[in-house]
């Protein structure tokens, strides 16, 4: 028998600010935690989605809501945010990431994906 879902992983694959996908994924994860109905809601940043973790992002210049704030809000609810380090490095080099974001390898990322009952991609 399949167990009911007690955890969800939001896989963010797109860069912040070009589309609403990154922000939408982060807000969805926050809503899952805020509801209290889903035990674990985590975010894994991969590919272009790793750019959501860049500490120096400054979206006020383009008048968009801040994905950095959305990640900070997740930390307030003890939501985990992971970034695949090799994907980030291949795009912008060795840059500082936002507080609370954990750098992981692809091997670790595979384990994180396995550890969640449901996965949805943004």
């Amino acid at each position: 028998m399949i167990k009911m879902a007690d955890s969800i992983l939001i896989l963010c694959t797109r860069a912040p600010y070009g589309t609403e996908e990154g922000f939408a994924g982060l807000r969805l994860s926050l809503a899952m935690l805020a509801s209290g109905l889903v035990g674990r809601s985590s975010v894994l940043l991969v590919g272009d989605g790793t750019l959501n973790a860049v500490a120096t992002q400054e979206p006020t210049a383009i008048g968009m809501p801040s994905n950095a704030e959305a990640i900070s809000d997740l930390a307030d609810f003890e939501g985990e945010v992971f970034v695949v380090e090799e994907d980030l490095k291949s795009r912008v080099g060795d840059v500082p990431v936002l507080e609370g974001v954990k750098k992981v390898t692809w091997d670790q990322a595979r384990t994180i994906i396995k550890d969640h009952a449901l996965v949805t991609t943004f």
């Binding site: 996908e21 899952m32 805020a34 949805t120 991609t121």
Partner: protein
């Protein structure tokens, strides 16, 4: 106890074939005895707008109405609706404008499987 399938739809009703594929999958799952739930997020909320008239293309709104009559649950994100100018009272019969915290979180916690349609 029947299994529950959750469809997470983020493509709009006329963007591509995603919404058509979603309703076909929902219909097949109902045929097999699943509890079927759809949650529309982002552009996916447009599928519940009453009055869709796509002429030569399949009418996703009408298909969802039929699926709701067969027992499917159809809910979309209210914040995403507001952003797109879709208001309560404009949704197709059998659907609901809801929220992430009240609806999707419950659907996620009760789902056996979740399938995302998005591009």
């Amino acid at each position: 106890m029947p299994k529950t399938l959750l469809i997470h739809l983020r493509s709009g009703s006329m963007m591509n074939m995603d919404s058509n594929c979603a309703v076909k999958l929902m219909s097949a799952a109902l045929d097999k005895g699943y509890n079927v739930r759809l949650f529309g997020y982002g552009e996916g909320v447009t599928v519940i707008k009453e009055g869709q008239d796509p002429k030569r293309f399949p009418n996703v709104g009408n298909e969802l109405k039929k699926l709701a009559e067969r027992g499917a649950t159809v809910v979309v994100c209210g914040t995403c609706c507001a952003a797109r100018g879709i208001h309560r009272g404009e949704e197709i019969q059998g659907s609901e404008i809801g929220s992430l915290t009240n609806h999707l979180s419950k659907f996620v916690s009760e789902a056996d499987r979740m399938i995302t349609f998005a591009r």
